[in-house]
């Protein structure tokens, strides 16, 4: 009768004076749940951990009742979100208890895509994986192993990196070229930093955002939401202005103090025109430019060769000249520049649609240059380099096989002409697989990645997956890519894992978060960190030698970290963990004007003229002729010095304008969680989605829709040069005429991997890239809309 007494306790907690409504119950069964070991009847705990629905790393507290997670709330003591939590974070419950979660390791036992699987044990799964990868290495082709790693930062990517190096594969392929790569690359080439910048929102006076969905979806939406409240209402009588530049009238545009509609792909021209006015009218921070920057004026290098500086570039971008290109009136450009000059400190940031054309890197640099012009870099209220907490373990020894494998070119083209200034282009991987060049891909690991759904040219991805002999997926949920796997090793969800988390840079506070399991792991999953450690150890000498830890937890604990420690405490993560179990976080002090670390560039300064780019182009291209041939082939106009400076030239689009009259504007909404929107009903059904919440929709300007005879909710075919999808039309007055808005991440659930038309939107995008950085031009696909015949 234990169950009865438990319910009596529960009832007694809440049912004071019950009796009046006897017999009139709602007829609902609350469920018959076993209390897991370690829990008492009626017991409740609030467990601090870190959200994992996006890279922001908000602190959460999970309310756990009798061993069941029943609510996710923000952690009030967490510096990033201070108790707030977004819709995605709360929907973690639907992920944890998702009815379609994969039940333990599965081995394919039918044709690929047949959905026939045999459940196996973890021991035999890891044995199997070790045997496959061991055979590939023994055959002398460790480079034939490719990992696609969708986790942008953290401990597991470090483990994978270590494993792949010891194994001998150069193919640690990330999503960077299709996500926030442009902003990160601007930091790399202008400041020598490998991370996204942080922003001191609380103290800024003016925010100019290009294409960044600050309130829709970016890497710090919840922090931004809180910061904007403070910017507007935090200090009586003071209000920072927020200006949003974008083609589409989004939630961010609606909430901005001013929205500047712009021609697609023209953001860089506007940024350079603003710089033009700031310099022309003497509004820039001369002292900062002189003390901390390189390449503002024309200069001569150590060989006496003359080079153009930033001032020369912006001379060509007078507001009157760019107003037609950008669609922004010249006097408006002048006004905004003057406002920026008058309201320091200013934050300028560009990402998303602004850096999503074929001119993405030049645009990102043009926007970041505004921060240096206005003296915002490293200053209070400005833009800071990431204050990183976690380092990595000391590197291990490599054997001959590993050294030979690592010397091979990577399949994402990271050292080739097309990615000279980038870190590889995941969108080029299907071509590499299908062509077998530079070499055949023999094994593919998919960690937090579903490329057949979430990467451009979905059809080609599916074809490519079919051409790889051995595929392993670590997804806890079924998806389009996992359907083609040979072995599925389901990861824990973030609510079941134990690890430390490196949040995306937010306000510049050095910080890490703790993740701890809130319930016992479900569905026989295993944290992928543990799988990597066990795999490395199972494979023997070359990999086992650099994995001295018995499990993932030990590897996490041994990770070096930079937070100040008490005397004698080693600076490793394990020293921080006892306190973190209570608070969920560990952080250091904020700091500004760290001039000695802010600029890891050849000049030790902020480089308007990037000497890093110059050196890199020299290393990748045999000579100027080779570089120029590439530029001609790719239709790039600029030459020589101009490639090292912030720059802008008109974007190119995939698809013929006559056949495909619309420009596709893909975007992520506030509900875009890892894996998209479609698997979590709370996110699909957000109130603003209205009656079409469960549909795959496109947004059309009312006039455009009318011309095609389309009304709200009607069916149409959306066709791009690389695919098509049956969609539902949403009439959106905020859509720029001639553009079609495409919210990403939607589609049927459960996924339909056999459907020839890829769901979710990403798959309709062409794999068009910025020709020197390899950044995916996600805003560069044309499309047509065809009314469905009745």
């Amino acid at each position: 009768m234990r169950e009865l007494s438990r319910r009596e306790v529960l009832g007694a907690l809440t049912a004071l004076g019950a009796g009046a409504a006897a017999g009139c119950g709602s007829g609902l069964e609350a469920g018959d749940f076993e209390i897991p070991p370690g829990w008492r009847a009626g017991e409740e705990r609030s467990i601090p951990t870190t959200c994992g629905q996006c890279p922001a790393g908000c602190g959460i507290k999970v309310r756990v009742f009798e061993g069941r997670a029943v609510k996710i709330e923000g952690n009030p003591a967490h510096p990033i979100n201070a108790g707030g939590i977004g819709p995605k974070g709360q929907a973690g419950l639907q992920l944890l208890y998702h009815p379609d979660r994969i039940r333990g390791p599965q081995l394919r036992n039918g044709p690929r895509g047949s959905g026939r699987w045999t459940q196996i044990t973890w021991d035999s799964a890891i044995e199997r994986l070790a045997a496959e990868l061991g055979a590939l290495r023994r055959a002398g082709h460790p480079e034939g192993l490719v990992l696609i790693d969708g986790e942008p930062r953290g401990v597991v990517p470090r483990l994978w990196d270590r494993f792949l190096r010891a194994y001998g594969s150069p193919n640690h392929v990330t999503h960077a070229s299709t996500s926030e790569g442009a902003r990160a690359l601007a930091m790399r080439w202008m400041q020598g930093s490998t991370e996204l910048p942080a922003y001191d929102w609380e103290n800024t006076g003016y925010v100019l955002g290009f294409g960044v969905g600050l309130f829709d979806s970016w890497c710090q939406t919840i922090h931004m939401s809180r910061a904007s409240g403070a910017l507007r209402r935090g200090k009586p009588g003071q209000r920072a202005k927020f200006v949003h530049v974008a083609s589409r009238f989004s939630v961010t545009a609606a909430k901005a103090d001013e929205w500047i509609p712009i021609e697609p792909g023209a953001d860089g021209a506007l940024a350079l025109a603003l710089a033009h006015v700031l310099v022309r009218d003497g509004l820039y921070d001369r002292a900062f430019v002189e003390a901390h920057t390189f390449g503002f004026e024309d200069f001569r290098d150590e060989h006496g060769v003359a080079h153009a500086g930033f001032r020369t570039v912006i001379a060509e971008f007078a507001p009157e000249k760019v107003s037609r290109t950008t669609g922004v009136a010249a006097d408006r450009i002048v006004r905004i520049a003057h406002e920026m000059g008058a309201h320091p400190p200013v934050i300028a940031l560009g990402d998303g649609s602004a850096c999503g054309a074929t001119n993405g890197l030049g645009t990102a640099m043009a926007i970041h240059a505004l921060n240096a012009l206005l003296g915002s870099v490293e200053r209070t209220g400005g833009v800071l380099t990431e204050r990183r907490v976690l380092a990595s373990w000391p590197p291990g020894e490599l054997d001959g096989v590993a050294r030979a494998g690592l010397a091979a070119p990577a399949v994402d083209g990271r050292d080739t002409a097309r990615c000279a200034l980038g870190n590889g282009a995941i969108q080029s991987v299907p071509d590499a697989i299908l062509s077998g060049r530079p070499y055949p891909v023999k094994a593919l690991l998919l960690y937090r990645s579903n490329p057949a759904f979430s990467k451009p040219e979905g059809r080609k991805w599916r074809e490519a997956l079919g051409a790889v002999p051995f595929i392993v997926s670590f997804s806890p949920l079924p998806d389009e890519s996992t359907a083609w796997a040979d072995l599925v090793l389901p990861d824990h969800t973030y609510l079941e894992r134990s690890e430390v988390v490196e949040p995306a840079p937010s306000s510049g506070l050095p910080l890490i978060g703790l993740r701890q399991p809130v319930v016992a792991p479900r569905r026989r999953g295993m944290a992928t960190g543990d799988v990597v450690v066990r795999l490395a150890r199972a494979m023997g000498a070359p990999t086992a030698a650099v994995f001295p830890w018995p499990d993932y937890a030990a590897a996490v604990g041994a990770l070096p970290q930079s937070l100040a420690s008490k005397d004698g405490t080693p600076r490793v993560v394990s020293a921080l963990l006892p306190a973190m179990h209570e608070t969920g976080t560990a952080s250091g002090e904020r700091s500004f004007e760290q001039w000695d670390t802010a600029f890891a560039t050849p000049s030790g300064r902020f480089e308007f003229y990037s000497q890093g780019i110059r050196a890199r182009l020299g290393a990748v291209f045999a000579d100027d002729d080779a570089l120029n041939r590439h530029l001609v082939a790719e239709g790039v106009r600029d030459r020589g010095d101009r490639l090292c400076l912030p720059r802008w030239e008109p974007p190119r689009f995939a698809g013929d304008a006559a056949a495909f009259p619309f420009v596709l504007a893909p975007y992520r909404g506030i509900n875009y969680a890892e894996g998209g929107v479609r698997h979590l009903p709370w996110l699909r059904e957000l109130p603003a989605a209205g009656l079409l919440a469960w549909e795959e929709t496109i947004d059309m300007n009312p006039d455009d829709a009318r011309h095609l005879g389309l009304a709200q909710g009607e069916r149409a075919w959306l066709e791009s040069p690389v695919g098509r999808r049956r969609v539902c039309v949403r009439i959106a007055p905020g859509m720029r005429p001639g553009m079609v808005g495409m919210p990403l991440g939607h589609g049927p659930w459960p996924p339909r991997p056999e459907d020839p038309d890829i769901a979710g939107g990403h798959g309709l995008l062409a794999a068009l890239s910025d020709p020197l950085s390899g950044l995916h031009a996600h805003q560069g696909t044309r499309a047509r809309v065809r009314k469905e015949e009745a």
Partner: protein, 265 residues
């Protein structure tokens, strides 16, 4: 889902009923209420993220509508986000209103209910007793703010998802009206905790008491006691930016909005 009530389901159902019945039974016998619950929503802070709507669904065990009911406009959002748009590209304006029940001082919904299923508690909360409701939907059409929802279906969850249901709140059955209760169960728990400590409720523990206010990343939602002259909600409700929806109807909502402000050079 089985229609047989388990003991737990039954008891929590009673708990829900007791929660809404008890205060009104006491109302006439007791001195004027100490508390008058109200809410202020700052539209200048709100970023339209809809965390409040999800928090409310999670806290109050509101089931997902699913594709069919969604397309028919039968989704239930005790806390909704109303969007007002005007203009043509590129001259556009859009405003977002997080919209809970207004808990009117003079609510039309109570007047039209033929069975007394909706009542006003002594502390000003507009309550709904599912066990009395006959599903006539008069209150739904009488509410000028569209804040009442009819349950078109039996609430259902996949077996696994039932594990995350809030043990403090009973789901409502098919055929009745349901609505925002200002997270009445949380108020009750806060009172119990304060009583146990032998103290009165503090404004600081009330400001973010409802699930919507607790979740809001922008801290746009403030809850509290309008009778307490020192409370944040009272102070904000008297702000020159404060207004109430359809004030001209005389319903006297206890949800106040603070107008969006403009940047000035």
């Amino acid at each position: 889902m089985s229609t047989t009530s388990s003991r737990r389901g039954f008891l929590t159902t009673l708990a829900g009923a007791a929660a809404v019945l008890a205060p009104s039974r006491r109302a006439s016998a007791e001195p004027p209420a100490v508390h008058r619950w109200g809410m202020v929503i700052d539209l200048d802070r709100c970023t339209g993220c809809q965390a409040c709507a999800v928090a409310c669904r999670a806290e109050n065990n509101v089931p997902d509508a699913g594709p069919t009911n969604t397309s028919k406009g039968r989704s239930i959002f005790w806390m909704n986000l109303l969007t007002v748009s005007e203009g043509e590209y590129p001259v556009l304006r859009q405003q977002f209103f997080p919209a809970p029940c207004n808990h009117c001082e003079d609510p039309p919904c109570i007047k039209v209910c033929p069975v007394g299923a909706t009542t006003r508690s002594s502390e000003g909360i507009i309550q709904q007793v599912p066990e009395r409701c006959i599903g006539c939907r008069l209150c739904e059409v009488s509410c000028p703010y569209t804040r009442r929802y009819f349950n078109w279906s039996h609430p259902e969850w996949p077996e696994e998802e039932r594990e995350h249901l809030n043990p403090d709140v009973t789901p409502r059955s098919h055929g009745v009206i349901e609505k925002c209760l200002f997270c009445h169960h949380r108020i009750r728990a806060a009172k119990t905790a304060a009583q146990a400590d032998g103290r009165s409720l503090k404004d600081a523990e009330l400001r973010k008491l409802p699930a919507c206010a607790q979740s809001c990343p922008a801290e746009a939602i403030v809850f509290g006691d309008l009778n307490d002259p020192e409370s944040e909600v009272r102070r904000l409700s008297e702000s020159p930016r404060a207004f109430r929806l359809l004030e001209e109807l005389g319903t006297r909502p206890k949800v106040f909005y603070l107008r969006e402000a403009k940047w000035q050079e």
